[in-house]
Structure formats: C-alpha cells, structure tokens
Symmetry: C2
Subunit: 146 residues, 2 copies
Amino acid sequence: MSDNQFKRGELYSFITGKASVAIARRLQKNFKEAGVDTTIEQWSILYHLWKEDGRSQQQLCDATFRDKPSVTRLVDNLEKNKLVKRVGDKKDRRVNLIFLTTEGKKMEEEAMKVANRTLNEALAGVPKKQIDLAKEVLQKVYDNLR
Amino acid sequence: MSDNQFKRGELYSFITGKASVAIARRLQKNFKEAGVDTTIEQWSILYHLWKEDGRSQQQLCDATFRDKPSVTRLVDNLEKNKLVKRVGDKKDRRVNLIFLTTEGKKMEEEAMKVANRTLNEALAGVPKKQIDLAKEVLQKVYDNLR
DNA sequence: CTCATACCGTTGTTTATGCAACTAATACAA
DNA sequence: TTGTATTAGTTGCATAAACAACGGTATGAG
C-alpha cells in the first residue's frame, strides 16, 4: 500500500522534525531565562517523577521513550545536581527507585509554568481543532514505527 | 492571547517530539540494513549537496537548521569518511565550499530510496489530507519559534 | 537445589548538539 | 587609509543518544 511519493522538501522536514527541535530549543532558552536550572532531557525525567515519585529506571525508560543507558546517565546528572536520589528497592535488589529531593520537588511549579508557556508560544494562532488533528497524525506515525 | 491549557500528556508528547525521534531511529536502522553507511545527521548534509553541490558551510547551516559548530563537525566526519571535500572559495577566502566526492555522489540513489521507504512506513494509513494538515501545523510551530 | 534464562542497571565508544570564545577575512564608514 | 563591525569557520567544554558488552540479581524448570 501507501505508494506515497514525497517531494524532497516535504521528506526532509518530516524526517528531521525541525518543529520539535525548535520547541526543544525554545524550552531550554525559557528555562534558562526563568532560572530553572536543568536541561530539557533532565526535565523529561523530572516530569514523570512529579506525576509519580519513586519510579524505577526501567519505568522511566518506558515513560520517556529512552533506552537504559540514556536514563542511567540522565539520573547520574540529576543526582549530581541534587534533584533526585537513587534508592535501592528492598524487594528486588536489581532495581533502583528514583526519588525527588526537596529541591527537585520545589522545581515543579516554575518548570511546568515555563513548559506551558513555551507550548503556548509554539502553538499560537493554531486552532485547537488543527492541533488535535496534528496530534493524531503524530501518534499514528509513532504507532507505525514502534 | 492563546490561553490554551494543555493536559500534561499532550504537553509532553509535543515537546519531546517522540514521532520525529521514532522516524529518525527507523531511518538509521533502514540505512544500516540497506548498507548505506552514514548517520542521519550526515545524511541531512548530503541531502542538500545532492540537490546542489558546492555549497558553503553557512548555506548548509541555513538549509539544515543547524548551527555553525554542528556543521563544521558534520563536515569533518563526512570528510573523514571520504564522502565530501572542503575547497576554499577563491572569491572569499573565509568560505569553504563543500563538494561531494565520487563516493558521496554514488550514495544518493540508494539513500533517497531508503528515506522514501522510511517515510512511507511512517505515514502508512494516514490520508494525504491529514498529512498536509499536520505539515501545516508543524510549519506554523516552526515559524512561531524562529 | 542447580542451572539456564531473563531482567535491571552500568560502562565504553562513537557521534551529535548547544553555547561561548576565538581567529581570519571582508566590508564599510570616517 | 585606518579603524570598526560583520561574517565564516573552528575549538573547547558539558550534555546527550545509539549500540554493544558486561555484572549482579531474580526466576522457573528439572
């Protein structure tokens, strides 16, 4: 099926995902300006811990779509910055549970405010209906490739 | 304006661009399987040289949405792999013009075939009309942030 | 219990990005 | 012409991703 033929420009844009790169850069910039001292990748880990603290690294892999080495190193850096702490699981000694520190918890409010603002900047002037449609397409793409 | 409030899940998906990450990973995998020996980032440079050979690094920055250090290093690696060659511009001695080698030219056909196939995999089952709409949204996002 | 197997996390290597600082060459205004 | 600003490209440093290989722990079959 699907004998789409793409014009070269289209192909390039889709594959390189310049929109999401632009969002990432803007978010990083906005974090910096707001004094939120973290990278967007570290934020993506914190984001899930704020939703539910004390997850294993494996759970964080699944949630963030990252592989295990990536999460290991992000947690390394978060620990270095004293935003999270590794705690060995007593039930299963293979597992590290990751907990927010007080400082890590304190960061949530400001960081989420910045993230929301960034997304509003990105989607300014785009009708909600179109946003939903685009989201659907991106989800489908993701499902096609997973 | 634009007092959108986003649900947390929406926010995360949009910002992290998991669809474009998935496309990139699949393209890399498909390159490998097809024996196309290059990274997707290097491919993005080659892509523009195939369209028009002998561009300056600055032109490649603009075309690929990358900053200058990134392009410098991608060209370094492409040169190391003997796919391109730097040639000093005689008119303006600040400028490097980047030319494909024979080997770099030979790669075009297979690489573009793989890229097209990858995009077909990604967009399988998505109606052309929706693709166009999504593209529009992503373009708007990019314009909002540039 | 023991052994094969699966799972969780870590480490090493290569490649790439963002940012800031820097050099060399050019353009332009006084 | 001289001095300043701009432009092209490079380098250093910190962070991150993909992939492969590895060690420690748990689990289940015999």
